[in-house]
């Protein structure tokens, strides 16, 4: 079934490039090509399966590594509740990726809406923060505490940064023992920032592996994979940062153009270079619609 869809996919590619006409049956002279394609398919499948497996192998242990790091770092901070939140979508929402502590299982996959709470703020500001001494009537982490039944009394939140972008938040909540808890100190904030660096690259690896795995499953799916347009449409639905998606979209577009021939490649290059030159001279800096 998969072989067939891959064959049809390549066929549709040839149609697009004008090598075949629509509804044209594969001519006899090209039967050799078709046979060759059939022989190549197992190799293509092999590559896809390997990609899929590698991605799988990458994703599973990564979450465990993140968890272990949380445990180790929390211990150095005399805390036993810690979690990693990552961006969910491009609206600035957050979701718990990994957590340790009493309510860890309740936290997993819980969502925090954009800008809400300490985590929401740290995500947008990129500034680490420690907040302490919650009043007993109302916890400031209502969103989450309500769902877990836990009571946040003191919290340290630091941003996870990768390639200049904030990809998530690392949090430590409360201390080992009974309340009242000592607030987190500036030194502990500095320690947390160091752990954040390592955890950020693990989180990024996790996300990339997941992307690869999703892409792999897409290629292996039974559906008739038509062309680049569908890949780009699918990219648009990916849970990822807008910028990243747009870049991947551009990459796919470029690939399509480049595949069409010398003339297209030349024209594309000229256009792109003139865009770069234009961008250099651009003085527009206003984002405001006033």
């Amino acid at each position: 079934m998969v072989f067939k869809s891959l064959l049809l996919y390549s066929h549709s590619l040839f149609v697009k490039r004008g090598i075949f006409e629509e509804n044209q049956t594969i001519p006899k002279t090209d039967e050799k090509n078709a046979k060759k394609m059939q022989k190549d398919l197992p190799k293509k499948m092999q590559t896809l399966i390997e990609t899929f497996d590698v991605a799988n192998v990458l994703t599973e242990p990564l979450t465990r590594s993140i968890e272990n790091l949380l445990r180790v770092s929390a211990a150095t901070m005399n805390s036993e509740e810690a979690s990693v939140l990552i961006r969910d979508g491009d609206q600035g929402d957050l979701r718990f990726l990994s957590a340790i502590g009493k309510v860890a299982d309740k936290l997993l996959n819980l969502r925090v809406p954009a800008g809400k709470g300490i985590a929401g703020f740290v995500l947008s500001s990129g500034q680490p923060m420690a907040v302490a001494d919650v009043g007993d009537e109302q916890t400031f982490y209502d969103e989450v505490d309500r769902k877990t039944g836990y009571s946040t009394q003191t919290i340290l939140a630091t941003p996870l940064r990768h390639n200049g972008e904030i990809i998530g938040v690392l949090e430590y909540v409360n201390r080992i023992g009974e309340p009242p808890f000592e607030s987190f100190t500036p030194d502990e904030m500095d320690n947390a920032a160091m752990f954040a660096e390592v955890i950020a690259s693990l989180v990024n690896a996790y996300e990339s592996a997941k992307l690869l795995r999703d892409f792999g499953s897409k290629m292996l799916s039974d559906k008739n994979e038509p062309d680049y347009i569908e890949i780009r449409n699918w990219l648009r639905t990916l849970r990822d940062s807008t910028e990243h998606r747009e870049m991947m979209d551009l990459a796919v577009l470029l690939r399509e153009i480049a595949a069409r021939g010398d003339g297209e490649r030349q024209l594309c290059r000229e256009l792109l270079e003139s865009i770069l030159r234009f961008s250099d001279t651009k003085t527009e800096t206003s984002f405001l619609n006033f």
Binding site: S124, S125, V131, F184, T285
Partner: protein
Amino acid sequence: MTINPDFHSSTNTTAFSYFQIDDSWKSRTGKGVSVAVIDSGIDENHPDLKGKIKESVEAKAENKRIIFESSDTGDSAGHGTACAGIIAKIASEAEFYSIKVLGAGGLGDGQAFLAGLEYAIKKRYRVINLSLGTTKPQFFSPLHDLLDRAYQAGCIVVAAANNLPQPSFPSVFSSSLISVIKSAETDPFNFGFHYGEVIELTAPGVNVRTAWLGSGYRNLTGNSFACPHIVGIIAQLLEAYPKLTPFQVKSALYGIAKENQEKHRTEK
């Protein structure tokens, strides 16, 4: 030392006598000074802030650009309220203008924050508390531009250090940006000077007790809580000497910080 506001009309001035400050500014309340807080919004119902917020706007995305509309959604995260609370404790009669760029959904982080800064400059708010920042390279250039425009407009921008890209010389001289990092100090008047590429001041930012959502209070630690301390000080300075330019404000703060350093050294 006293700042001579009639410097330009006076005939008997030297560089030395021009730039003098005495301690009378410390008793000021920031009356009549506009302070913009570009943040998560401000809870206008908090007892520490009631009646002090003159206007609240929030960012909304429209056709890939940002517009600002009147806001009644208060503070979505608590941070804005905390910062306003710190400023109000130092400059109790300062006029607050809340510019909410967070929690509005559908906005690119850097874009909304820059639009908020642009809005504040267009409105000519005298002091701008900037808690958010950006590390994306494509925003460095617009940010430099905005900081220069703030300088021309007489607006003083105060931001938490390590949050904004370091401007390179000579723009550091034309930019009005003052960056602040936290210290364990508790006295808001005892702020320090930390030499770096950008003018950096240190101010209380460890276990600062201030306003929070739900009319409550919290103990907060972070550079973004040191920042509003300096904003409060600047509001006091501006009430005492309304004609100060951003450059003069920076010089004044530097002078006071150096004095604090000397006092601290001799007290030891």
